[in-house]
């Protein structure tokens, strides 16, 4: 059974998610996401936390992508963007902790602002490592907590508020990726040390 609390939280947000996420954030992040997603190859690709499909217009054309999200309502909202994509996206409502895929199914995995919201991030990342081929890479665009004062306590305060209706602001995602058994290849800060891209390999 998927995590009912998390599913209900995102189902509730789904109809107004585009307005909440805002055009401003997508516009700011567009160049960085375009660069990250340009790493999509020709093999099997898993995209985690599809949401309403805000990232789909940034995907390179002609890819075959399996996209999952814990919220059926989000997947429903994404249908229009999926239909408009010049390639193949198979979207399913699914909990990352309970993916039915065989081990080593995917050549690459991509995430976008995902691990601020997965309740058990290390377990979620371990589940991703299981379905990623040995030597396969994970590419992540994530916002995390900061290591620097005064941003660190500010993000902690914000998390007390934001976690009630959406994401946490103080996750240590790079550490979580490492704890899940991935080998970190590259971390690149997009804004301060708060928004970043992470590339890591499944050592097998």
């Amino acid at each position: 059974m998927p995590d009912a609390v998390t599913q209900a939280k995102w189902d509730k947000i789904a109809p107004k998610f585009d307005a909440m996420a805002g055009a401003g954030a997508e516009e700011r992040w567009h160049p960085f996401k375009t660069e990250l997603f340009s790493n999509m190859g020709d093999g099997n690709i898993l995209f985690l936390a599809l949401g309403t499909g805000l990232d789909i217009p940034v995907f390179p054309k002609g890819k075959t992508i399996t996209a999952i999200d814990i919220s059926p309502k989000m997947v429903e909202q994404a249908q229009e963007r999926i239909a408009a994509y010049d390639g193949t996206i198979t979207a399913q409502a699914m909990d990352v902790h309970e993916m039915p895929f065989e081990p080593g199914t995917f050549d690459q995995i991509f995430t976008s602002c995902t691990f601020c919201s997965v309740p058990q991030p290390v377990k979620g990342l371990e589940a991703l490592r299981r379905v990623l081929k040995p030597g396969g890479q994970i590419f992540m665009f994530e916002h995390t907590g900061s290591s620097f004062y005064p941003f660190k306590p500010m993000m902690n305060v914000m998390t007390l508020l934001t976690e009630r209706f959406g994401p946490a602001m103080n996750r240590k995602t790079v550490n979580n990726v490492r704890a899940a058994g991935f080998k970190i290849d590259e971390v690149s800060n997009v804004f301060l040390d708060v928004v970043k891209t992470i590339k890591a390999t499944n050592p097998g």
């Binding site: 516009e27 900061s146 590259e186 804004f191």
Partner: protein
């Protein structure tokens, strides 16, 4: 920092606004004779909350973390400076707004400098 004109101007205005609001709140709340340290901490918290409110208004057009972190920081900084000043000497409403606005602009400038120092690749294979 983001060099696109819309975001540069938007960031400046948002942080200026937060600074002015935090300055005015300090003028309203703090009185000469307050313990300066207490005034500082109280107004840092109030300024941060003011930043959060402004963030919720401008986030749709200006972005997420790139707005939230600077405006909360600027609110905190403005609250700290003007709150402490108010505890030491009486300020006019205009002075409180002006010092608050200047602190807000200082806040975004510090964030831009920090971002320039931190952004880019931090770890390679």
């Amino acid at each position: 920092m983001d060099h696109r004109l819309f975001f540069v101007v938007g960031d400046l205005l948002a942080n200026l606004l937060v600074g002015v609001i935090a300055g005015l709140l300090s003028w309203l709340i703090v009185d000469t004779g307050w313990n300066m340290v207490i005034a500082m901490f109280v107004m840092m918290a109030v300024g941060m909350i003011a930043g959060l409110v402004v963030f919720m208004v401008v986030t749709f057009k200006l972005g997420a973390m790139e707005v939230m972190v600077p405006v909360m920081f600027s609110g905190m900084l403005s609250g700290m400076f003007v709150g402490m000043a108010m505890a030491m000497m009486p300020l006019s409403l205009g002075d409180a707004a002006m010092y608050g606005g200047a602190s807000g602009l200082l806040g975004i400038a510090i964030c831009w400098i920090a971002n320039t120092l931190l952004r880019g690749k931090t770890r390679q294979a």
